[in-house]
């Protein structure tokens, strides 16, 4: 049983990392899109929708990296209280934080997926020159938010199962 548990744990962590790598690719795409817009402007060619595509890449990059950033301790939080506590009190506080965080991460993921579904159903289009079908970029964002929800719940379950806070120290404020 426990070996299945660690295998899933490892597999998920690898999955979060790959999502981070995809996010990094979107960051490069963002840069390339903006270079394209500069070059095309210098050449006097108008390519419609470049700015919107840059915005979509920005969103895709940010959301694909959410889970990976969470694992690496990159999301900031106030840890003053946590550092003042030890033992059981600290463990209880960590459980509280992870539970609330799990709830709202799932809440966000659910409604982003729902929004994407409605965009798909009603074939909503971007108002910009690109007239992209909105569900396409939105689904990237919803996917990232879903992975984020999985990783927070993952951390919660692991903390309960092992009895020690799962997350590394990571980024913190004070």
């Amino acid at each position: 049983m426990s070996s299945i548990f660690t295998a899933v744990d490892r597999g998920l962590n690898r999955f979060y990392f790959y999502c981070g790598v995809i996010a990094a690719c979107f960051l490069v795409i963002l840069g390339l899109l903006i270079i394209t817009s500069i070059v095309s402007r210098l050449l006097g060619i108008f390519i419609p929708g470049l700015n919107s595509y840059a915005g979509y890449s920005m969103a895709a990059s940010a959301y694909f990296a959410l889970a990976y950033t969470f694992r690496e301790g990159g999301h900031i939080r106030v840890v003053m209280l946590r550092n003042a506590l030890t033992g059981k009190a600290r463990f209880a506080l960590e459980l509280w934080c992870l539970s609330i965080a799990s709830f709202f991460a799932c809440y966000l993921a659910w409604f982003l997926i729902r929004m994407t579904w409605f965009s798909y159903k009603f074939e909503e289009k971007s108002e910009g020159a690109d007239a992209t079908l909105l569900w396409m970029p939105q689904s990237l964002m919803a996917f990232g938010a879903a992975v984020m929800a999985i990783t927070v719940v993952h951390a919660l379950i692991k903390t309960i199962a092992t009895g020690t806070p799962d997350l590394a120290e990571g980024a913190k404020i004070e």
């Binding site: 003053m80 509280w96 966000l108």
Partner: protein, 431 residues
């Protein structure tokens, strides 16, 4: 009466979530959800999704990850070594000697990294050992670093200024240009303090380096020149209107890549690290901004910002009184939150107040940067002080004491900026 009860619940949830250590972005989303559930009957989740989608896919935000990436690439070049070597021959004959390297180095580094904690850590890592070896007093080493490290938020391209610009819908290019003169003025104020300190103290116990020739100075300058040119080109492109902030950012990334290739400090590994580092930081910030956009929406429904703005309007405060109150407010807030969080958290409430009072939002952005920076070095709790504690191994009491004069200088800078608002508004008005 129910309104007041709801407001109290709303504020308690805010403090509970943030204070207990729930990740800032998720706290903001949670608080906003609770707020909207209390104050409206609109479908909360759907409003959240559309708000977060439009906040996260906005083109103006694109400058942010690119500037972060540029900083990450430059971090991994030989920049920090060159910084000390290049500035030293120019600074050591001023009264106060190499302490000025701390300040000028921080100002220069701030311009590329955009983060004050990173500036303190990077400049300190090379300058603390050098200054100790030459027997400079410890409190001045720490003090100048703590103070000058805060220039990171003011000197463009400042990540925090981008965040402010996105939050209040002001031109990022104008904000960048507005930060230039106040940043230089603040750096000069720090340097004047060191000069006065050195003259008052008289006779130097520090060991001077052997005299440098103009040849040395020029070689040293040549090492720094690429970085200075890169920053100059990025800012020039923005100021002249040739490029938007986002376009200038991508030029910065390309320039930084070429520079580190030329220095042979760019490997596949360092490229990967810089890219993943930038991805993580911008993901964290974008998530906070998304949460803050939703909180702003929810705040609108609670009516708190409007009520507060009207209440403050009825008090007939003078501009000075308002500035004083806001300064105290942000310094206290900065004891618990970092600069970015305290800005995104409060803007929904503070923006209407400030607009109603008739402040220029560009000027206010620069003011806010200085005030948020003051909070980073306010004893006993300040982020930069903790970084310095980790680096020097001294106790907090000593570090807080060393930073105290810098804290006062920055308060003076707020007074100067409020007396002469043109320092911030003149350049952007003439773009």
């Amino acid at each position: 009466m129910a309104e007041i009860g709801f407001t109290l619940i709303f504020l308690s949830v805010l403090f509970l979530f943030l204070g207990s250590g729930i990740w800032i972005a998720l706290s903001l989303i949670g608080v906003a959800t609770v707020g909207m559930e209390l104050f409206t009957s609109r479908p909360v989740g759907d409003a959240m999704a559309t708000t977060i989608w439009s906040a996260s896919s906005s083109w103006t935000l694109a400058a942010l990850p690119l500037f972060i990436w540029m900083g990450e690439i430059l971090f991994r070049t030989k920049l920090s070594e060159n910084l000390f070597k290049g500035l030293q021959p120019w600074m050591q004959h001023l009264p106060g000697g190499l302490l000025h390297v701390n300040i000028a180095g921080s100002a220069l580094f701030a311009a590329i990294s955009g983060s004050s904690a990173a500036t303190v850590a990077t400049v300190g890592k090379m300058s603390i050992p050098e200054l100790r070896r030459r027997k400079y007093p410890e409190n001045m080493i720490i003090g100048t670093l703590a103070g000058a490290g805060t220039l990171g938020l003011l000197i463009p391209p400042s990540i925090t200024l981008i965040i402010y610009g996105v939050t209040v819908n002001e031109s990022i290019a104008k904000l960048f240009i507005a930060g230039v003169i106040p940043g230089i003025v603040l750096a000069l104020m720090f340097m004047s303090y060191v000069i006065v300190w050195s003259l008052v103290k008289g006779g130097s116990s520090e060991e001077a380096d052997p005299n440098t020739t103009w040849g040395d100075r020029l070689t040293a300058l040549l090492q720094l020149l690429p970085v200075i040119c890169l920053i100059g080109a990025v800012m020039g492109a923005i100021y002249s209107g040739l490029a938007t902030a986002t376009e200038a950012a991508v030029l910065g990334v390309v320039g930084a890549l070429i520079m580190s290739l030329a220095q042979r400090s760019l490997s596949w590994d360092s490229f990967k690290e810089s890219l993943l580092g930038a991805t993580r930081t911008s993901s964290m910030i974008a998530f906070i901004l998304a949460g803050s956009a939703f909180l702003t929406l929810a705040m609108g429904f609670t009516g708190i910002p409007r009520a507060l703005a009207e209440w403050i309007a009825t008090m007939q405060l003078s501009a000075w009184q308002l500035i004083l109150i806001l300064t105290i407010f942000y310094v206290i807030l900065g004891c618990f939150l970092d600069g970015i969080s305290s800005i995104v958290l409060t803007m929904a409430v503070v923006e209407p107040i400030v607009r109603q009072a008739g402040f220029d939002m560009i000027w206010f952005g620069v003011f806010l940067m200085i005030v948020v920076e003051i909070a980073q070095i306010t004893p006993p709790i300040g982020f930069n002080l903790f970084v310095l504690q980790g680096m020097t191994g001294r106790d907090m009491d000593m570090i807080a004491r060393a930073a105290a004069p810098m804290f006062l200088i920055m308060l003076l800078a707020v007074v100067v900026l409020s007396t002469f608002p043109g320092l911030a508004t003149w350049l952007p008005a003439n773009m």
